[in-house]
Subunit: 144 residues, 2 copies
DNA sequence: ATAGTTTTGAAACTCAATTTCAGGCTGTGG
DNA sequence: CCACAGCCTGAAATTGAGTTTCAAAACTAT
């Protein structure tokens, strides 16, 4: 289990960036939740307890998280970027319900293996990937 | 081999939309290329031969293509939507070179099968998916 | 050809993301 | 412990892709 707070603080130090109250509050709130927050959503959550923190700061801090590797920036095609804490333990991909917005994480090592095969087939060096299945979650496929 | 021009014309008729000169020119130019055009890029190509066609028209027409199923809207995370002619013959996904922007299409039925397994595991009904591998194409991994 | 719609294209608008900048904070050196 | 140089903050302005507006033009059916 890596300590994401330490990783972030070390990143700040090596980049000669400053450890500020805002950055620490944002990090704490971000890590406290397993949600896939958009900047706007995290901003709204923070506002309740910390109305003084601005949207731009939340946005810049999320970008920092992504830079230092403690968060992953995701995009599910709803026009907003979302961020999730990065778990080095295991990579996962997503099922996205297009009706209620629910996001389910899944792991399938056999798909990962096939990705490596495909890349090799084209002499392609993969840095990252994105794999999302869109549709209806069980609840939403029962309704309507 | 489906005739995408006919599909589009039929769609226009059933939706009581009009067959206009602009729509035909845009369709022709779009199908002539296997590129993964963004609205802006297609607009620039069209401008050379047809300077009178406006950006909004190109955009609206690409949306129509997607609606009637002759095009697929893609998003590779560069902040622009891209469109490609839809080949019902076979589904494919993409390798995206993050250096030169090259896009390689790939087919891997075993991945598709595993996706179905994953969806079933979560009682999820899949409508569509998106699967992209990002990295360096062979040329770009040799340079630099 | 005419009437009744739809379409076009330039411009305005929207919305998330990003940048600006004056004032506030941090951490380092003294 | 203090001061200062430079980074940070947050409100506001800007950007850029996408979308909408609206009057004039084009299309289809009559």
């Amino acid at each position: 289990m890596i300590d994401r707070v330490s990783v972030f603080n070390q990143y700040l130090r090596t980049q000669k960036l400053k450890s500020t109250r805002q950055r620490m509050i944002i990090l704490e709130t971000f890590l406290d939740s397993k949600s896939h927050y958009s900047t706007e959503e995290l901003y709204q959550v923070l506002r309740k307890e910390h109305p003084h923190i601005g949207y731009a700061t939340v946005h810049r801090t999320l970008k920092l998280f992504a830079e230092c590797g403690i968060a992953i920036e995701l995009n599910f095609g709803d026009g907003q970027s979302r961020f999730e804490p990065h778990y080095t333990e295991h990579h996962h991909d997503h099922l996205v319900c297009t009706r209620c917005g629910k996001i389910i994480e899944f792991v399938e090592p056999r798909i990962e293996q096939l990705q490596r095969e495909v890349a090799e087939r084209y002499d392609f060096t993969v840095d990252s990937h994105r794999h999302e299945l869109y549709g209806r979650c069980i609840r939403c496929s029962q309704d309507s």
